[in-house]
Symmetry: C2
Subunit: 351 residues, 2 copies
Amino acid sequence: MEQLQYHEGRTEISQMGKAALIERITDGFRNRNISTVSSIGDDAAVLGEGSRKTLVTTQTLVEGVHFDMMYTPLKHLGYKAVAVAVSNIAAMNGTPRQVLVSVAVSNRYSVEALDELYAGIHLCCERYDIDLVGGETTTSRSGMVLTVTAVGEADSAAVTYRSGASLHDLLCVSGDLGSAYAGFLVLEREKVTYQANPNFQPDLSGLDYVLERYLKPEPRMDIVKVLAEQGIVPTSMTDVSAGLADSVLHICRASHCGCEVYEERLPIDYQTSRVCSEMSKNMMPVSCALNGGSDYELLFTVSQKDYDKVKTIEGIHIIGYITEEGMPAVMVTPQNTTIELRAQSFQGVEE
Amino acid sequence: MEQLQYHEGRTEISQMGKAALIERITDGFRNRNISTVSSIGDDAAVLGEGSRKTLVTTQTLVEGVHFDMMYTPLKHLGYKAVAVAVSNIAAMNGTPRQVLVSVAVSNRYSVEALDELYAGIHLCCERYDIDLVGGETTTSRSGMVLTVTAVGEADSAAVTYRSGASLHDLLCVSGDLGSAYAGFLVLEREKVTYQANPNFQPDLSGLDYVLERYLKPEPRMDIVKVLAEQGIVPTSMTDVSAGLADSVLHICRASHCGCEVYEERLPIDYQTSRVCSEMSKNMMPVSCALNGGSDYELLFTVSQKDYDKVKTIEGIHIIGYITEEGMPAVMVTPQNTTIELRAQSFQGVEE
């Protein structure tokens, strides 16, 4: 008998970067099946031998890590759990078809609580024409852990990887950035106030946009659709789940390139700016955009030839371009100084 | 601000049967995609428009519920997590191709612990020619939660559902039953002894079979293979994850039939019998077989015409036959009394 979690030469998981950890634990795995087209290292796995590919991805949300039950309505949580998995299918330029939902819950949760959770799951499935095809409900010792597997499909020629960006490609992002993190900051502030005085009535007026961005994100299937309608296949794509910087670096690493992002081009909503200025003198909106995370927008590159098409599409912003291999991924400020991008997602919005 | 897990009219999850709970929370979900062939209510979802079907299933293991770190080597745990998901693919008469593994771990676990876990995942993937194609490692607030999504494939004509059993079909089971639960009982006994006296050296000699059955189960891909070689497509199939009684009832409910199982036909290993008699005067080996669970054997029905083929296959036992709709699922004792089967899986081996 031994407690096997204790080892000599202990390395803390928190000491390792996520990419290094994944590389380490998956070292030695080799693909054997011809139906495995693409595996670890992208937003979803690409499977299938024919021209029609199956996309599969899985996303876990852990209570106390990815969500706080103090301010997360269960219906929103169910919706979000499906949405963030589906966002991975969108990031491959695919169409979601099915989800499987695994829920581990402690006895703190009632059947009525599960009703609420599944009402949110149902709503997101209806919204995006997705079938719930499996999963399970099991017991946990503490809190809730939700794992959603999303299955989608796409034609082989349309599947978009992180690795396809080329020199001079335009770097584009949908929607706006940092607003989900602004919503998170508001909710955390209200939680502290509530804990100090449970009779306190929060005033969240004028903040509905950032709150919804955090509590009930939408996968950008509308962007996938409009790109297809315009005949644009991005050269690379990923979603923005852990901040723009993290996503840009994913594309640059996978595509073996650098990039320049222009700070003044970053789409930031006025509510996001307002929350940041209220919260702290040191919290710049651009930091929320770069490192806030949970936006679930799409970051992608397109060939220069698609510039005329892309610039007219509502909700798509051209924020920079791809530079050659060996160059870093940098942000250029309005003062024309360059800052190298680093992935340093803020706490509370872990990918 | 409100803590949304509290509701009026609270119903405890533990008060509801698993089937009733699933029915309740999935009520209102309707399939919309033609690629969804079969969804909730079987061992895996069946997807795809062509004659080659994709099978997808997900299985969660929770620390303190499905495994105890006091006596579960992490390498075995990784192996088992993949094996139990793959068992669901076997239960559909399919071939596993890919897995995605999501791990949520607290800071109690080190990188070296994850190395061990993934060594086990790797071993099971190698053993069954499966590619690891995705997943993630996230933080948990306490303990470990493992969710494995398995993807497999099968020809449309070979896919075996729980719902296809017909009157007079033979009920068959692979391997032996109750041995995993016997292994669990031994480990729990040793744990108590160890906690009372940490210097105690356990004597587990002669118990290696039941221990391995619990700690490192094998999905019965060999049975799937031999059935295909013999040209047998079972009329219905499921795996034995929560005891034989539970699995028999799944087939009877889905196929709208009853069945008779003969107690003397139940395959029970001598180590299982030995452990049961040592453990308690009241613990009958047949109870372990019916309700012990974690066996991950295959339970299936075949047409009478396949009797001559099936009876010669090593490791397959004909334990009964299907009776008509309206009849109960019963076990017939050697004394010729009939006992109605009930699903009452023992604690610690929850499905």
